[in-house]
Amino acid sequence: MRGPSIRYIVLVIALLAMVPLLTASNVVLNFLVVALLIALVGQGWNVLGGYGGQYSFGHAAFFGTGAYVTAILQMRYGVNAWVAFVLGIAGGALMGAAIGALTFRSGLKGSYFALVTLAFAEVLRILASVAPITGAGVGILITLDLRPQAFQFQSRAQFYWIILALVAISLIIVRLIEQSRFGAWLVAVRENEDAAKAVGVDTARVKLVAMIISAAITAAGGGFYAQYFLFIDSGIAFGPWISVEALLAPIVGGIGTVFGPLLGALVVKTLGELTKLVAGDAPGLDLVIYGSVLIVIVAFAPHGIAGLLADLRMRFARLRSSVPEGAHG
């Protein structure tokens, strides 16, 4: 499948890695850390939704699992933060396997799949808001311990490089999926499930594996969130806000593309900040502008920003190739 080469991905990441050398502004770095976090979570969604065509409205289930496993293992069982973070990813993958097995085995598709994933996330949110181990309504505060071995840092720059590294890994994973047989099968499931079955694709299994990879990537975002903000509660970890962020970034950026979630996260987050500036203190006005601009983007670039760029590039190429023949526009 066509897509950016690994070398190109490394180049983009290398450029982004230089940002903390240019600015030490906490505002800028904090903004970028959050945008990259959304890019990571969105990339998780993109594996299942963008490539597999299974639109989940409940990726909070995986984000929250990653966040809670990371926090609980540290605070309740004294596990090292990095180990807890890795186990959080594993926990997310396990949650993905469980929800995937239940939904795909029963043959849920389309809007039914979306609704059931939403329901799973909501059930987890409610459970987390009452269970003692999750801190119930109070949430979990991770004790301040600013040492690298505790996955906590003095400067934002270090957090920035870590989330950038996670995004880089997710980009490479997705690119490798694109080039693999599994990726071809996943796209086949998205395009036409019956046709995929007819050429020997075990569609239930392909969807399940995609769900596990998707959940693991999103859970990494949850674990990072816990370490960065040092506090989570049921509304943060399993709340609908993160399910929406997870699908908004790839949809705006271009679903089923390697760079879509990253592009989308940067655009959506920039837009969010700009509208806050423009709207000033008028309550809710920023959200109105934000929503309107999103509608315009989706209306004029139905394949996202990545699709728009590809379109422009193709038109430009056609224009250039037609010039020698003195041809028509």
Partner: protein, 252 residues
């Protein structure tokens, strides 16, 4: 007699009060083209869906190379070498012709490059060689029928189930497609095809089963079958055979 490639044994399919497939038994012998013909609504596609695992039969058994494959899911049948096309074409619409066929080729080839190579080769055998980079959605009906065939062929099947690959094509397009299908037997692919373009069946198939109202009403060589009064009646209505032979006699 040796075990046939495919043996369908007393298969029934009931949809509520409708008996769509009624006690059908048939065999497909290797290395030749067998056709399943019959008027619209005879149950051809239903029977195909049962054989290819997309639909469960109400009763009866199906054997492939002597193994009971009744109720096996489609992807496992594909891995056994049974490939099918769809009467209502099912392209991977968002992908190119090349990518569509490559997904079929991936069944036996892990590497992307290998699958794409095989796909290009198969595309040229069905006459899609020049359209590799076209989006599947931009193909004409004839192009899409070829794509169905190419994608199934790319799985390297031993048994190919063609569900009305000629339906909806104009006479020129049918004429172009017939030699491609005939060429399959030369490549060692056994074909079972449903069709209601009679002329094509006559020139392609070596053995024909006629299905009407869910039942096999005749079988044999194509020439023998079309002369069978029961077959004529199934297509043209009750009493048609008698009227036709009367009209024939009058002309003589």
């Amino acid at each position: 007699m040796a075990e046939p490639l495919l043996r369908v044994e007393r298969v029934f399919k009931r949809f509520g009060g409708l008996l769509a497939v009624d006690n059908v038994s048939l065999v497909v012998e290797p290395d030749r083209i067998t056709a399943l013909i019959g008027p619209n609504g005879a149950g051809k596609t239903t029977l195909f869906s049962i054989i290819s695992g997309f639909l469960a039969s109400s009763a009866g058994r199906i054997f492939h190379r002597g193994t009971d494959i009744t109720g096996m899911p489609p992807h496992l049948l594909a891995r056994r070498g049974i490939a099918r096309t769809f009467q209502i074409v099912q392209p991977f619409a968002g992908l190119t012709v090349h990518e569509n066929i490559a997904i079929g080729a991936h069944l036996s080839r892990r590497s992307r490059a290998d699958a794409l190579d095989v796909a290009a080769e198969v595309a040229s055998t069905v006459g899609l060689g020049d359209l590799l980079d076209r989006p599947a959605a931009s193909l004409t009906v004839a192009g899409r029928k070829r794509l169905e065939l190419a994608r199934a062929l790319a799985t390297n099947p031993g048994l190919l189930l063609l569900d009305e690959v000629l339906a909806g094509l104009n006479p020129g397009e049918v004429a172009a497609m017939v030699p491609i299908i005939r060429g399959l037997a030369d490549r060692g692919v056994t074909t079972l095809m449903t069709e209601h373009v009679m002329q094509a069946v006559m020139s392609l198939a070596e053995h024909v089963f006629v299905l009407a109202e869910g039942r096999i009403i005749a079988e044999g060589a194509p020439r023998a079958v079309v002369g069978n009064p029961r077959v004529v009646e199934a297509y043209l209505g009750h009493g048609a055979a008698a009227r036709l032979s009367a009209a024939g006699a009058a002309h003589v």
